[in-house]
Every structure is written in C-alpha cells, then in structure tokens.
C-alpha cells in the first residue's frame, strides 16, 4: 500500500477522517430530514428560531462553535457531565470529533433537504391521500422518493464538510493522533514541523481526491435518479 508513500500516522488520520465523516453524516441524516421537513412543511411558533439555530454554525466562526460545544459537552459541561454519568464521553474523543463535524455540516444538509422537500408537488401528495395513503405512507412512498436526489445531495455535502472540518473539531476535541487527529488536523500539524511539507502535500492531494470522489458519486446518483423521474 505504500505506493503512495504514506506513513502509518498519515494512514491513521485518513481512516479516522473517513470514520468521523461517515458517522457524522449517518447520525445527522434522520434528525436532518425531520427538521428539514418541519421547516419545509409546517408553520409553528418558534419556526424562525429553529431555522436560525440550524444555520448558526454556518455563520459563527468555527472556533466559537467548537468552544460552545466544549462548554456544553465538555467533561464539566452542561450536557457533558450528565452524559459522562452514563459512560458517554465526547470531549477529546473521536466521537466528539464526529459531533463537531455533524453540527458544522448540519446547515448544509438541512438546506439541501428542505429545498428538495419544498419542490415536491403537494398536489401529487394529495392525490396519493385520496387513493388511501395515510400521511406516513404518503411521506414514505411519495415525498421521500421524490425528494431523494436532494436528500442525497445534502448527505454528500455534509460528508464533504465533515472531511474538511477543522476549526470546531480542533477546539472541541484537540489534535490527538489516532483519536482526534483528522485529515485537516494532520495537515495542519505537518505544516508546523520542519520537514513536514512532503507529508502535508501528500495528505492534501488525498483530501482533494476524496472530496472530488464524493462530489462525483453524488452527481452520478442524482443524474440516475433524475433519469428515473424523467421521461423514462
């Protein structure tokens, strides 16, 4: 495997990044879909507040988001202490890195999902209801399939964001090799040590390749789905 000339530490960083990004994306998929649906379809008090909260990580400096996470989920944080009681520790663990990535990618995911849900023709959903489909059946058999391209795009965006997340992650869970040192943290570390340029460049190229692959994959999927919905 060393055709790429990667050191074991670099491999560890890549594997960790993929794991963190995958867990962050999968874990935020259903909450993201639920909130996107609420924002797209429901009018309720506090809707604007929810919308603002979801978008907050997009406009706050990542360091601030990371620090807020540390305050909330740190060992002595508001939720962190309670979670520690039941054995869940997030600070300075890879799970914390996943949480930071999920929070940072959440606005992108919800935005894409919400737009695709808003684009689903309500009249077709009504027609399904007249044929006997309950609201939950309508969601599963009509809304979700029709919104799927956007839902996938949202997931890919969140994954790509998680692969590149740096500020909030390093603030919240630091930069521990093998535990919280993701690809961007590893690149940052390599640029800080003498002779690290080659390693930084290698990881940078890997990072670019992974992001491109994710983008291409989502593009292919979206096109395939569009064909299925189109004049097939």
């Amino acid at each position: 495997m060393d055709g790429l000339g990667l050191t074991p530490d670099e491999w560890t960083a890549i594997a960790l990044s993929l794991r963190v990004a995958a867990v962050a994306t999968l874990a935020s998929l259903w909450p993201g879909l639920a909130i996107a649906w609420l924002l797209a379809r429901k009018r309720f008090p506090g809707r604007g507040l929810l919308d603002g909260l979801v978008h907050l990580p997009l406009i706050l400096p990542p360091v601030v988001t990371g620090y807020l996470l540390l305050l909330a989920f740190g060992r002595r944080g508001t939720f962190g202490a309670a979670l520690a009681e039941i054995g869940i520790v997030l600070s300075f663990r890879w799970t914390g890195a996943a949480l930071a990535c999920a929070v940072m990618g959440f606005p992108l995911m919800v935005r894409a999902m919400r737009l695709s849900l808003e684009a689903v023709d309500r009249r077709v959903e009504q027609a399904a209801a007249t044929l006997g489909a309950s609201p939950w059946s309508v969601f599963l058999t009509v809304t979700l399939p029709l919104a799927l391209p956007g839902v996938l795009a949202g997931a890919v965006l969140a994954f790509a964001k998680a692969m590149g997340e740096f500020g909030a992650t390093i603030t919240f869970v630091s930069n521990i090799p093998g535990e919280t040192q993701t690809l961007p943290s590893a690149i940052y570390t390599l640029t800080q040590v003498p002779g690290g340029e080659a390693g930084a460049l290698r990881l940078t190229l890997i990072s670019v390749a992974l992001s491109m692959a994710a983008l291409l994959a989502s593009e292919l999927l979206a096109r395939r789905l569009a064909r299925r919905l189109g004049a097939g």
Partner: protein, 373 residues
C-alpha cells in the same frame, strides 16, 4: 347510495355556502370560474376543511364540524380525478394504477366489472402499463388517472373538470368513457364543469353554483328545460336538439341527422346510422331569415315560426323559434329584430351554421325533447 352536503367557509373575500343532496348517477356541479366548484370537491375529498358543515356519504358521516367528526382524506374512500392527472412521477403506469391497492383493508372486493383488466380495457391503457407518466400525453395521463381512481375502489368518484386541460380531440376520446362509467359502473359521480356541452351530455342531477352559493339544483333535464344555468350562461346559451343519425356522405365528409326540428348536416360523426344524438346549438350561431335563403354558404336551414322574443340586455334579444315542435333559440340584436319586424307566430327560417355544432355536445340521446336554455 346518497350524498348529503352542507358546507360553509370563508377564505379572504371568498365565501362559500353550499348545500345539496345528490341521488345516484352523475351529479354535475356547474358554474363559472370562481363559483366554488373546486372548493366543494376539495371539501368532499377532505383536502379542505370547511369552517362549518356536514358531509354524509352512503350513510357514513365524513364530516360534522358540530360533532367534531372529520374523517381524514385517506379513510374517506372517495376517488378523485383532478384537472391534471397528478400521477406519481417516480412510478410506472402499472404501479400508479396499483397504488391504491396496497391500502385496501382486507376483504374489500373490487367493484363488480371494474377489476384491473376490466379497467385497463375500458380505458384502453393496456399498452401504456410499462411507461412512465412523464412520457404520456395529456389524454393518456388523464385516462390513467381515471383508472387509478376507479381501482382504489371508491364509493364515490369526484371529477374536477377532468377535460379542462385537454384539446377537443382528447375530450371526444374521454367523454364516452365517462358516459360508460355513469351508465355501467354504478359508482355515483360528482362532476365539475363550466362547459354546458359536457353538462348537457352527462348530468342526471345538476347543481348550479354562483359566487359560492347554489343558484339552482335538481334533475338536469328539468333545469336545462327551464334554462336555469345562471345569468353567466346567457352569453353561451343555446338549444339542445335530439336527433338521429340518418346517414353518412363520404364525398362531402358530412353526416346527416334528422329529428322533429328537421334535417341537419354536421361534420362526419363516427356513429352508426340510427344512433340517437343530442346536439347543442349555440344561440349566437343561429341566424333568422323571413324568406327561404338562397345563395348562402351555411347548409342548415330549418323552417319554423317565432314563438317568443325575450330581451337579454345590451341590445340583444333571444328569439325562440318553434321548429316542428322543437324549440330553437337565436341570439339577435334589437336592430335586426326591428328590421325583420319579427313577431310571435310569424313564419321564419333559421339558418344554423355548420360550425355551430360542437362535437363534444354530441352525446347519446336520452329521449329528451328540444330544450330551451
């Protein structure tokens, strides 16, 4: 099967306050755009919740705001054919037709004569089953939508101007199917339309809506006879003539019809000789002459006498003619009436322009005499 409806609602400046009862067969909701026809359909289907109201279908209360009953759309068992097909774009035609099946409670039988194969045969959509909705024409899509609604085994079928988005040829293709459903399927139908020709052809019961209120309601024949289609209708008024196909002339491409009013020629009509047909003759397409016209391009001239003259306002007069026992209305200007010195009892000739015959107005006759509207 019965339908009892009383609903009222206010949405901004629009107020709807409608109550009617429908007997079996086809009930037409007739009225101009904005009269509330579609809102009534939406209330029936449970897509719109009225402020106050009660809806009872076949003895089951679907809505009673007073008793806080509001059966959700998916449990109402009311099939709806909308103005546009609204097919599920991600499913093929067969899956669209089958969509309602997965929600049947066990033990609900297909409507007799309306099993899957019957329906695709009736609608002629067997060759479309593998296609996607995006690849269908408007007429094909609407036929699939009708099939899908029928296969969901409804106890009431709502059709909200199902022909509105189709051209004349597609309308001519689907109207006989709706007639077939009315006469054969035994499902009561509520049919929304603002086209007199469709109503005249299809309706058993007629409910005329105007500005959110019921202007008239009752058996279609009687209402049409009395001309109670609402003031908006005066502009498009006309007469219904029942005739029989007497023969076809391949050379001229015309079909000859005969009836008590006389003989008429219309563009080729694909019906066998002897088939009864009902014609709609728009009043504005009838000219009146005091002498037998010569050198005229219009082919259809009927002899008759003036029965009465009714001013319509804006300088227009409705002249009702008696042609061999059938009534024929003509819309003339007051100036023409004066120039011709028309008076009741006077013998005249009615010139009917061939183009005045609306192919969609030609339906199967049902023993109705000429109707004045």
């Amino acid at each position: 099967m019965s339908l009892d409806l009383a609903v009222s609602l206010t949405r901004g400046a629009f107020r709807l306050d409608v109550a009617f009862a429908a007997s079996p067969g086809l009930t037409a909701l007739f009225g101009p755009s904005g009269s509330g026809k579609t809102t009534v359909i939406d209330c029936l289907a449970g897509l719109v919740r009225p402020d106050r109201g009660r809806i009872v279908v076949a003895g089951e209360t679907l809505l009673d705001t007073h008793r806080r009953i509001d059966v959700p759309t998916h449990r109402r068992r009311i099939g709806v054919v909308f103005q546009e097909p609204r097919l599920l774009p991600h499913l093929c035609v067969r899956q669209n037709l089958d969509y309602g099946r997965r929600f049947f409670p066990r033990g609900r039988d297909a409507i007799p004569g309306l099993a899957f194969d019957d329906v695709i045969g009736l609608l002629g959509i067997g060759h479309l089953l593998a296609r996607r909705p995006a690849g269908l024409s408007g007429g094909e899509g609407q036929r699939v939508a009708i099939g899908r609604a029928l296969l969901s085994r409804p106890r009431l079928l709502l059709m909200d101007e199902p022909l509105a988005a189709l051209d004349a040829a597609r309308k001519a293709e689907i109207l006989p199917l709706i007639e077939g459903l009315r006469d054969g399927a035994g499902i009561p139908i509520v049919y929304v339309s603002h086209a007199v020709s469709e109503v005249a052809r299809l309706a058993d019961t007629l409910v005329v809506l105007e500005a959110g209120r019921v202007a008239a309601a009752g058996p279609a024949e009687a209402l049409l006879r009395r001309g109670e289609l609402g003031p908006d209708h005066a502009a498009q008024g006309g007469s219904l003539l029942d005739m029989v196909v007497a023969g076809h002339d391949p050379a001229s491409g015309l079909t000859h019809l005969t009836g008590i009013a006389g003989a008429l020629s219309v563009p080729r009509l694909d019906r066998a000789v002897g088939t009864p047909v009902r014609l709609l003759v728009p009043a504005r397409d009838v000219l009146v002459a005091t002498q037998a016209p010569v050198g005229l391009s219009a082919r259809n001239v009927l002899a008759g006498t003036v029965r009465d003259l009714t001013p319509l306002g804006e300088g227009a007069v409705r002249v009702t003619l008696e042609c061999g026992g059938a009534a024929l209305a003509a819309r003339l200007t007051q100036a023409s009436v004066r120039d011709l010195a028309l008076a009741p009892g006077q013998p005249v000739f009615a010139v009917v322009k061939s183009v005045a015959f609306d192919p969609q107005g030609i339906g199967t006759g049902r023993g109705l005499g000429a109707v004045e509207i």
